[in-house]
């Protein structure tokens, strides 16, 4: 975020204070050993009460990888993430297609845009019951889908077996969004692809517009 002109404020899971930030990012990594289910215990971390309150008040909340899993477990986002279809940890650059502009990450990005962003996860297969999935699609809650370099969505370009190749979703209100790929690892051309830049720039714009 600082590369793009924002200021990062580290927030500790055991705290109950969001320190007046304009947007919350739940980063990737692992939490509480990810025992039971990924994010299942982290969602009860003290700071999550504040995150839930912040989200309910319309504050922009972004979950990346483990952060996405935590938001799903907390019920802030629909669906769940389970073990990859291959049962292997996957660490590589993939393409995702933007499916909705109604999220803090994609407000400034055109629908249909294809972005190159790395994934690094063992449990990134997005699943939901049939009814939930129909609702997610029907209400346009899908924000990102895995795809080929030209935007084609098919099984070959679905790295983890996610239902409908879903890589990221948003809530109904459009202020909470989660995704398995790592946009924060796709901002510096010296370190690889830069598909994360427009997403984080959009978040920054979105947060500034609310101030």
């Amino acid at each position: 975020m600082e590369l793009l002109g924002g200021r990062g404020v580290p927030l500790w899971h055991a705290e109950r204070d969001l320190a007046g930030v304009d947007a919350v990012i739940l980063p990737g990594g692992f939490s509480y050993g990810d025992y039971l289910r990924c994010g299942a215990i982290a969602r009860f971390a003290p700071i999550m009460e504040e995150v839930v309150r912040f989200a309910a008040a319309g504050g922009p909340v972004v979950g990346i990888c483990n952060g996405f899993q935590i938001l799903c477990e907390a019920g802030l986002l629909p669906g769940a993430l389970i073990r990859n279809r291959s049962l292997r940890f996957i660490c590589r650059v993939v393409h995702v297609r933007v499916e909705s502009s109604r999220s803090p990450l994609t407000e400034g990005v055109a629908v249909g845009e294809v972005l190159e962003i790395p994934i690094k996860h063992g449990e990134g297969q997005f699943v939901a019951g049939e009814e939930d999935l129909a609702r997610i699609e029907g209400e346009g809650l899908v924000v990102f889908r895995y795809c080929g370099p030209d935007g084609t969505v098919d099984d070959e370009h679905n790295p983890n077996g996610s239902a409908h190749a879903i890589a990221g979703v948003r809530n109904e209100a459009g202020n909470v969004v989660g995704l398995m790929p790592h946009p924060e690892h796709a901002v510096d051309p010296d370190l690889g692809p830069t598909g994360g830049q427009p997403l984080l720039a959009s978040l920054l714009q979105h947060a500034l517009a609310r101030v």
Binding site: A40, I82, R85, G129, G161
Partner: protein, 86 residues
């Protein structure tokens, strides 16, 4: 009083179970070619201190719903001491 329970958490029918699939794929190589529908779940055993088995069970029910399982993708079953093998 102490009450012993076991909670069985299973992936909802219809959801693909990658672990079950991997096990199912390994079995034919070992000569068992007649096995289908392998599903992997979780087994959580716990003891609750409560005045009655009913109160303890109600608490386990709530714990199963809120933490031990994720209702989006999982079902759970609770067995109490009478149902649990000693």
């Amino acid at each position: 009083m102490k009450h012993r329970f076991e909670v069985l958490v299973t992936l909802r029918p219809g959801l693909l179970d990658p672990q079950g699939k991997a096990i199912e794929g390994a079995l034919p190589a070992m000569g068992w070619t007649n096995v289908r529908d392998v599903r992997v779940g979780k087994h959580i055993a716990l003891t609750v201190e409560a005045d009655s088995v009913e109160a303890a069970r109600a608490q386990v029910e709530e714990m199963a719903r809120r933490l031990l399982s994720n209702p989006v993708i999982e079902d759970y079953r609770i067995l109490d001491a009478r149902e649990v093998p000693a």
